[in-house]
Assembly symmetry: C2
Homo-oligomer: 390 residues x 2
């Protein structure tokens, strides 16, 4: 039989992270490699009650085919919630997606032609690259400092289809853009006619104070904004959303319909039941407290156990530390040694669209208990020290 | 702001059916236009128990990120179930998808280049055209008779990326391919080196005897096969699957990962709980009995009320009658009159990839009670008779 693959299929590749996660399934390995939220924070009781209520009160509607746009009351809730976070949108601009990964796929489908330039941060979120790759994007990495993309250097992105930004506690770097940087980026993007796609999976996971309003809020309603319930409720529900300017919404909606008709209506109604009366106001602070304690544990472990010459910024939210090793070290080459020593991480190279910096790695602090974090970082420190001395 | 759409976005269009469904929301309209299964058949109690059990026994696993391939025990169940239906596959060939619509999207993503020829039946399933369109497919319609695509004419499809087939109670035509036709099509496709993508959403909805084994069963493990839980359980769960030859599986898996990471794990576990001990063996016969009674009601209504010159084949399963009007009539042009008379249908033209036959329409018999079917078909008969006499 003669199957011929589409050209874009050559751009589909096995996920580096999944390959690493397989390594870490060996028992005894302390995995700081995962990107999973802590399962202890999942609202199991609230979910159970919501499932029962939805099946009691609206069983047929919940189990029937539904609108591609999403469940009306959930779209309303999202619009209100964004308003409270400084982004004014109409419910009709909200498209419910099967996780925010699907939002990235739909954005790629509607906006990227083979060879289109897409501007990204350096480093950037790997899942976005995976979503955009099959549409044969060519990437432009915007030069970044510790506060994120540099507005003064944004002209390298001129003419790109859009700039993909993850301003809050970015995966992988953990960085959060300040208010002034957001304003400056929005102004410069507008001057350049550069559209922005803003992704915000981690914004609610702040430790001391909430991040500034979204970059989209300074874009006169012209940005695409993606959000998710994965980090504040649970990722296994696959529930996210895209907010799009009215002129773009119909194409994203048609792409959504072609992709999976609609996001499971049952899940949408269950999540709406859970969130509609303010549940997140009690629930999310508990996640924040847990993650902050874990962040503190990793911070002190890093300070104690990593050899001189390693650098990191302490994240003010989210799930990740981003570590820069001395330039001579290659995080990917060292990974097998680390796994032998009982600890795993994600080498940073996969998070760069170009010019990968081999001396970087990502550590998650949310799924491993503080004592094990200490143990894992100790092992990592030893591996790095040994590599430096050899 | 300068948003530039991808070229493929021009191939995304509003769904004709959705536009028609909006018309039919006027109260009092008897809609025979829908493609929805009957909500009376949804297994609400079993779903409720399964949700509670999953959240009690495996809450964290069900709510956490999960494997892109799908939930292992559900993949095993699908492989066993297909074996019982005459298609031998390994669980590792089963990719769980967010509805079988997503299976169509992934197939398009991996196999269709701009300008690729894709062979389809005439008429064919509209949702497949919607999934393939954004990948800029060019369609070849294989000449069909009442038994489906003609093996003798299959050479028109030579060189196409694949032939998309829906052999069981096709949407929209209702036709079911006989065993000999399946064998002949498989043999001819193999001789031509023409890959087959077989879609089977309706196969379990037979009224008197099950359909013959899948066409894929005669393709030496070389076909792609799509299935769904939407018609035997409930579509609001968005749960389907693709079975792929081992050589193609990794690309479909990578496309799946890029598209939405994975299908909601909660839904997969709930459905596995529902089906694992043979629930469908009692449940599906009840759906069959209901649909058969409705089919009979529509058949006698059509016999009594449609004017001479209208033709239809009585479907032996599924959800639809396909009606051919006298050649002078245009079903799309008559729709507003029908809606004024209190009945709606889907004009057939949308189901053709080319050479649309304007004198065709699709009627669903599953969601409207027999008395209302009679009323609706009576109204339709009057509208047609009037059109013929004017």
């Amino acid at each position: 039989m003669t199957w011929t693959l589409a050209r874009r299929a050559a751009r589909l590749e096995p996920s580096t992270i999944r390959e690493i996660l397989k390594l870490t399934e060996r028992s005894g390995i302390i995995s700081l490699a995962g990107g999973l939220p802590a399962a202890e924070g999942f609202p199991v009781a609230a979910m159970g009650e919501a499932c029962a209520r939805v099946l009691r009160e609206h069983p047929r509607e919940a189990l029937q085919y539904a609108a591609s746009e999403g469940f009306g009351p959930l779209r309303e809730w999202v619009a209100q919630d964004l308003g409270a976070h400084g982004l004014q949108v109409q419910a009709q601009q909200v498209l419910i997606t099967t996780g925010s990964q699907q939002g990235l796929d739909l954005v790629g489908k509607v906006l990227i032609d083979p060879g289109s330039r897409v501007a990204v941060e350096s480093p950037t979120y790997l899942g976005a690259l995976q979503a955009f790759n099959p549409y044969e994007a060519e990437y432009v990495s915007v030069p970044c400092d510790e506060e994120g993309p540099s507005p003064e250097r944004l002209e390298v992105a001129a003419g790109a289809r859009f700039l993909y930004l993850l301003p809050n506690f970015q995966n992988p770097s953990g960085r959060c853009l300040g208010a002034a940087r957001r304003q400056a980026l929005a102004a410069r993007a507008q001057a350049l006619g550069l559209p922005i796609v803003e992704d915000n999976p981690y914004g609610e996971l702040w430790f001391d104070s909430p991040p500034p309003p979204p970059v989209s809020a300074a874009m006169n309603g012209e940005a695409i904004y993606l959000g998710s319930f994965s980090k504040v409720l649970a990722p296994g529900l696959r529930l996210g959303y895209v907010v799009a300017p009215p002129a773009l919404f119909p194409k994203l909606l048609q792409a959504k319909q072609a992709a999976d008709l609609h996001t499971p209506g049952f899940n949408q109604r269950v999540v709406h039941e859970v969130v509609k009366d303010g549940f997140l106001r009690q629930h999310v602070p508990a996640i924040r407290a847990r993650y902050k304690a874990q962040r503190d544990a990793m911070r002190s472990a890093l300070e104690q156990h990593l050899p001189a010459g390693c650098r990191w910024t302490v994240p003010a939210g989210g799930m990740f530390f981003w570590v820069e090793l001395p330039p001579a070290l290659d995080a990917a080459a060292l990974l097998p040694k680390a796994v032998d020593a009982g600890v795993a991480y994600v080498p940073g190279a996969a998070f760069f669209a170009g010019d990968a910096r081999a001396n970087t790695l990502r550590l998650s602090f949310v799924t491993v208990a503080p004592a094990r974090i200490e143990q894992g970082v100790t092992a990592l420190g030893r591996v790095l020290a040994e590599a430096l001395s050899s």
